[in-house]
Structures are given as C-alpha cells and as structure tokens.
C-alpha cells in the first residue's frame, strides 16, 4: 500500500481520486453500520431456515413456516366465501323483485352481477353491455326475447340456439342463399324493410314486395313488421338493427338469415349468480 494521503482541512484520509483539485474523502463508516450489515446477513441465513427459499432440482426448500402466498390467497378466498354464504343464501331464496326492493341485497347482487358479467358476458356483449354487430346491446330498450327481470333470467339460463333442451329457439331462413327467393325479390324486400323503418325507399320496389313480405316474413315479424318476442323476431320499424341499418346490411340479413348463439348458463353458473346477473343486466338501463 502506498502512503496514506490525509486531507489537511478535515484530517480525513482521501481515496486519492481528484477532480479539479477537489479530493474525495474516505470518511470512515460508523461501526454500528457494519454491525447492521452483519445483522442483515445473519437475518438472511435465518430466513433460509424459516421461509421457503432455495430452489432444488425437484421443488424447493419449504422452511419451518412453509409459507406460501398461493395458500394464503386460497385461505382468503375460502374466508370470503364463508363470509358471503349468508348473502348468497338470501339471494337464492329471494325472488328477483325482492332482490330489487332490498337495498342491501341489491347492492350485493349488483356487485356480483357486475363481476360475473365481466367474466362471462363481456366477450360478446362488451364490458358495458354495449353489444356489437350481431351481439345485442343490453343498455337500450330493445329486447328480442323480453326485458323483464324473469325474461332476462330465463334467457341467461337457457341461452339462445344453445345446447339446452328448452333453449330460446328460432331461425330466420337464408332466403337468398338457400334459393327460397330470387335475388330481385330479396332486393325488393330490402327496400320494403327500409320503408318499414320510416326511411325513403323505392316506391315501386315497396309495392312489389308487399305480398312477398306477407308470405315470407309476417309469420314471425308480424304484418306491420313490429316483431314477435315469443320467437325472438326483431321489430323492423325501430332504429335498432342487430346486423346493421344500411340497405346492404338488411339485404345481407335477408339473404343469409344470420342467427347468433348465446350459450346456456344454467349448468355453469349457480341459480343465485344468474339472479344477480339478471338484476345487473336489468339495471343497465333498458330493463322493463
């Protein structure tokens, strides 16, 4: 070691590093600092024996406490389920109307409904139930199968065109694709449906399509095109279009007869959860 250089003013040893005439001091650490450092090392060694720490070829060292955050979460989940059991029970026994009228139960149902909606329904209906092309908006006042609490509950339970025995079932024929109607007739019907919703349409086409509509469409959509909820037939006179509002959209629907599938939730979600979901969907704004 070379000779120690001592700074004149402070009397402290320097490291020998110098910048613009300023030398770095090598100020001694307090000894208790060293002791803290040693204490930390001792703590770390103790930690190995108490807590899970070292990875092994198969598994890891468990330590005396065998602490696991996963177990902790599972225990918390079990505790939560136990704490919720009373409310869940109440939800099971109450009717939908009773749930709506009981602020306490309603709050619980809304919270559960919102979470369950996010997990199960949002992929198709959107996180806010806003729907998308081919997937109904649940916020508006248009309901294919009914917007009352029990109707919503039933739709959730059995689904639409699902695998359930008593599913909501209806199928619009693919008038064009299956050759039921000629392309010109489909074009005329398109103009007719545009006319039904109060928009300007080709009068000659509308006249020609009157009989076509009565023969092919009125059975489900009604003579006035007002729809029929018992078969899930949409109202053609309003401003809502599941598969789009433009004449091209309407022609496409008549030609192909699109019909989406909503799965049955009866076997997957508990009756109480479906109740909560129904109350939540009803509250989105369109509930009847």
């Amino acid at each position: 070691m070379s000779k120690k250089e001592i700074d004149e003013v402070s009397g402290t040893e320097t490291t020998g590093h110098e910048w613009d005439g300023i030398k770095e001091l090598n100020t001694p650490l307090p000894r208790w600092w060293l002791y803290l450092f040693i204490a930390c090392i001792v703590w770390a060694v103790g930690y190995w024996f108490v807590m899970p720490s070292w990875p092994m070829l198969h598994g890891y060292t468990h330590g005396m406490l065998d602490h696991s955050q996963r177990d902790e979460v599972m225990a918390n989940v079990r505790a939560l389920q136990a704490a919720r059991a009373g409310k869940e029970q109440a939800l099971n026994q109450a009717t939908l109307k009773q749930i709506q009228d009981n602020p306490d139960l309603l709050q619980f149902a809304m919270a559960e409904g919102k979470t369950v909606f996010g997990d199960n329904c949002a992929p198709c209906h959107g996180s806010g139930g806003q729907g998308a092309h081919g997937y109904p908006n649940l916020n508006d006042d248009v309901w294919l199968w009914g917007g009352k609490l029990d109707e919503i509950q039933h739709t959730i339970t059995v689904g639409v065109r699902s695998s359930a025995q008593d599913t909501r079932e209806s199928q619009m024929p693919a008038f064009g694709r299956d050759g039921i109607l000629k392309p010109a007739e489909v074009a005329d019907l398109t103009q007719y449906v545009v006319h039904l919703s109060g928009r300007p349409a080709d009068p000659a086409a509308v006249r020609r399509a009157g009989k076509l509509f009565a023969d092919n469409c009125a059975a489900c959509h009604g003579a006035q095109g007002k729809g029929d909820r018992s078969v899930g037939a949409p109202n053609l006179t309003d401003n809502e279009w599941l598969y789009g509002p433009t004449p091209a959209d309407i022609r496409d629907q008549i030609w192909n007869g699109h019909g989406g599938v909503m799965p049955t939730w009866g076997g997957r979600l508990s009756p109480a959860t479906i109740k909560a979901l129904a109350v939540y969907v009803h509250s989105l704004g369109g509930g009847e």
Binding site: E13, L29, W33, G128, G129, Q130, N137, N139, N239, G285
Partner: protein, 503 residues
C-alpha cells in the same frame, strides 16, 4: 487572519485553565487525530449546564412533549355524527380531523400544502437563525435531552457518569443502570402509546390497551415506537444526527454567511491558552482553552473547530462559555449566535450587523406567504357540498328504439357536513325527455337525494334526449346542479351528452 488552531502555551496536564476554572480533558469525538475505517462510537457524557439556552431548551421540551402526549386527549364536539377527538387520523372511516378542520382523502392537497409550508418554514428559519429546529424542537433532540436528563438524575453529572462507566459491576452500578434503562423504557412505551392515540379514540383505546382487547396493530406500533425511542434516544443519540438524518447535509446548502449560527468568535478568542490570575490579557485571546464548551456539548464536538454538520445549534456551549467568561471577568458571548460574516467584519474593523433581509429570506417568505394565502383561501371557500360526475364511457351512448339517445352518468354526492342532509339534483343545459335516477320511484326534477352525515352517496342517472332535440353535433353540453336548501350551498358540474350524431 488568525488561525483557529493557534494555541499559546498549552501546558499538557494543566488542571486549571485559569484561576477558579478547571480545565476539562474533554476531546472532540470527531477530532482529526484518530480516524479508522470503521469508527466506533465514542460515548459522550455532556455536563449538566445551566443558562439562558438551557432554560429555553427545558421550556421547549415541556411544550413539545406536552403537545405530543396530551393532544390526543383534547375533546372537540362535532355533534352526534362525528368523533369528538380534536386531532384524529381516522383511517377506518377515511377522515382526518384537526379541531374545526375535517379533511377527506381526496383533499390530501391540504396536507401537501402543509408539508410545503413546513419545509419552507424550515428553510426560512434556517436562513435567519440557523438550525433552531435541530437544537430545540426536533424529536430526536427532545427525547435525547430527556434521556440524558434521566441519566444525569440517576448516575450523576459528567464525571460521575464517566467514573461509573469504568467502574466494576457492583450491585450499586447494576441498580443504577437497571433503573435508568427502566425509566427510559417507560418513557419509550409512553411515546409509542401516545402515537396510537392519534389514530383511535384515545379513551376507548386506552381501555382496550389496558384490558388487552386492542388490535394487534396497536400493540405492534407501540412496540416499534418503544424500540425506536429507546434505541435512538438512549443509545444512538448524536449518531442519528450525524449519520442518519439528511437535514444536516441539506442545511449546509440552505445556510449562508449571514445566517445566525452558534459561532466561536475566533477573532476575539485566539490565540487561546490557559490564563493565570494576574497575567495580562493583552496579546492573547479570551479563550482560556478550558474545554467547558466541549464538555457541555451533547454532540461531543468542539465548536471552536468552526461550523460543522454535527452541530445542532442548541447553544449549551454558549451557556458553558458565558459561565467561564463571568468567572475570569471577560465579557460574555465568546461563543454566541453570530454570523460568519460578522467575524470577518470585526476582523477588518467594521461594525457587526445582522442582515435578516436578504434575497433568500425574501424568497422563502414570499413562498410561505403565497402558499399560506392559497391554503387559507381554499379553506375559506371550502364547501360542505361536493359532487363528481362521471359519464359512462362504455357504452358512450345508447340509441333507443324510437331514435332517442340516452347517456348514463355516475354521480357522487359528498355530504361534508356532520349532519344528514337532503340534496336536490337537477339537470340543465339541454332539453331532456327524461332524467331517471336509478333507485328513485319518482322521475320528478329536482330529484331529492338523502345523504347521510359525512358520507358519499353514489347514484346512477340516465338522461334521455328526444331525437328532435339532439342537434347536429356529436355532443351537447349538459350540466348537473346539486343544491342543499338548508345551508344554501350548491355545486354545478359541466359535462357532455354524446348524441352519436355526425361529428
């Protein structure tokens, strides 16, 4: 210029610095002579010192400790709907109470303002009078002072304590040490105990603590604070200031030559050296090198080495030196609250003066004034009615069957008064078909919403506008007004109504 280190006639082993003044062999613990890679703590046995600054320190200790221990017990009547503790941090209910002030979590900016005021006050005080905070009101200083007082009462003054430290472990020494540490621990427990009272109703919690029914958290915090008070106040003492606290470093940048600091007037004191009765005072300084200033220092430093980060500016060396000056018939305040600039002024024959008005003090005072004014204004205009309006983003808007458009809003009504009140909510700025408050039977406007005392009520409101009233743009302005009829307070929040039409 006179060197600080000039010493005349330092006769080693001399017991007397002057007639009637004992020469202490106290040494600065940070003296340049013996430094190592790791520095062991040199125990400090500050001598009990009386004087002006000691009296101020006793008074400050009484005031600060009384505030700390007693404030949680002060009651403040807020009516039946709020706690009656004057100062309470109520985590469970997310409220902070300070006498007539009540702060909600979203108003934490008041605390930010308070912290800015505290910081700038610290800067200002530092620029004017040096480290008053460190010397008189810092908890570390106050509790260390208290613990040293306990130590002095049990083990005796400096020399007795030093002797006891070296003495073999007799029954007497054990008794003294045990009683000292016991009393320290009692103070430490009381300190931790007082802390938790700020977060709970004090009388209730005291009952719970004594009966063993308080929550684990309370006992844990008392334990932690007992430990820190005992170790930091009893064992670590000056080590906290020297090695742990950032403020000594920061204040070096905050101070300047005109800031008052505990200063050794080397222009008057040097050359220093022992003085025998009858010796002339001509040609030498007033400092008789008695080291009484070092012996009295709780930080164990020698103020004659100049301004240093270890110095907490408590002024006990001033008291010590003044006593000595009186004994040797010299004027007091060889060590005094003085400025570096004044020493230089005296050295060149100018009159010393104190420049309290300087650019930095003006700046600090201005910042203090502005922030203080903003705080006062904010408090004075604070309403007990608040409202937040959150428009639904998903979906942005809903088109109904007949072409009308509906927007949903989540409205939070804050009743920041300690009584339940009925708020009236109305919608304006747009011709609406229907305003439906979910959960209300009636759609009549204004909607009357009952909000519990000191609570938030969240309601969802659906606003429907007829197709004919939508207008041409993509959105329309809309406003929500909440009125509280009893106190005549209201809030209006602007929002937008998305029509979904052409942009």
């Amino acid at each position: 210029m006179v060197s600080v280190h000039t010493v005349i006639d330092r006769r080693d082993g001399a017991q007397q610095a002057a007639e009637g003044v004992a020469r202490s062999d106290a040494q600065a613990t940070n003296s340049a002579a013996n430094r190592k890679l790791y520095k062991s703590r040199v125990p400090i046995y500050p001598r009990e010192q009386d004087g002006l600054y000691r009296k101020i320190k006793w008074a400050m200790m009484a005031v600060t400790l009384s505030i700390y221990y007693l404030v949680p017990w002060v009651r403040w009547d807020r009516g039946p709907h709020a706690p009656n503790q004057a100062v309470l941090v109520d985590f469970a209910h997310e409220r902070f109470y300070f006498f007539f002030i009540e702060i909600w979590p979203q108003e934490v900016y008041y605390i930010t303002g308070l912290l800015i005021l505290s910081a700038v006050s610290l800067f200002l005080i530092n620029a004017l009078f040096g480290r008053l905070w460190c010397g008189y009101s810092c908890p570390q200083t106050v509790w260390t002072d208290l613990f040293i007082w306990v130590e002095t009462k049990i083990e005796g003054d400096r020399n007795a304590r030093m002797k006891l430290a070296k003495a073999p472990w007799t029954a007497g020494k054990i008794a003294k040490r045990v009683s000292k540490h016991t009393i320290w621990l009692l103070f430490a427990v009381a300190t931790g105990g007082a802390w938790v009272f700020y977060y709970n109703d004090a009388p209730t919690l005291l009952h719970e603590l004594v009966t063993g029914t308080a929550s684990v958290g309370n006992y844990a915090f008392i334990g932690i604070l007992t430990f820190t008070t005992y170790t930091l106040g009893g064992m670590m003492r000056e080590q906290v200031c020297t090695y742990m606290c950032p403020w000594p470093r920061i204040q070096a940048a905050m101070t300047d030559k005109e800031a008052l600091c505990v200063t050794y007037a080397y222009d008057r004191g040097e050359p220093r050296g022992p003085h025998r009765k009858g010796d002339p005072w001509e040609g030498r300084g007033s400092c008789i090198d008695c080291n009484q200033c070092v012996a009295a220092c709780p930080m164990g430093i020698d103020i004659r080495d100049g301004a240093q980060l270890e110095c907490i500016n408590c002024g006990l060396c001033i008291d010590a030196c003044d006593d000595v000056m009186a004994k040797i018939g010299q004027p007091p305040r060889l060590i005094a609250y003085d400025t570096d600039a004044n020493i230089h002024r005296r050295l060149v024959g100018k009159k010393p003066r104190f420049r309290f008005v300087r650019p930095r003090t003006i700046l600090y005072a201005a910042v203090l004034g502005i922030v203080g004014a903003i705080m006062v204004y904010a408090f004075a205009t604070r309403k007990s009615v608040e409202m937040d309006v959150l428009r639904d983003r998903n979906p942005n808007y809903v088109t109904l069957a007949d072409g009308a458009v509906r927007n949903g809003y989540t409205i939070k009504l804050l009743n920041q008064a300690n009584m339940p009140r009925d708020f009236q909510l109305s919608v304006g700025g747009l011709k609406t078909r229907e305003v439906k408050v979910i959960g209300l039977e009636s759609d009549a406007m204004p909607a009357v919403l009952h909000v519990d005392a000191d609570k938030v009520r969240t309601v969802r409101v659906l606003v429907t506008v007829d197709k004919a009233d939508l207008g041409t743009g993509g959105s329309r302005d809309i406003n929500f007004t909440v009125t509280e009829p009893v106190h005549q307070e209201s809030r209006q929040i602007e929002s937008v109504f998305i029509t979904g039409g052409a942009k």
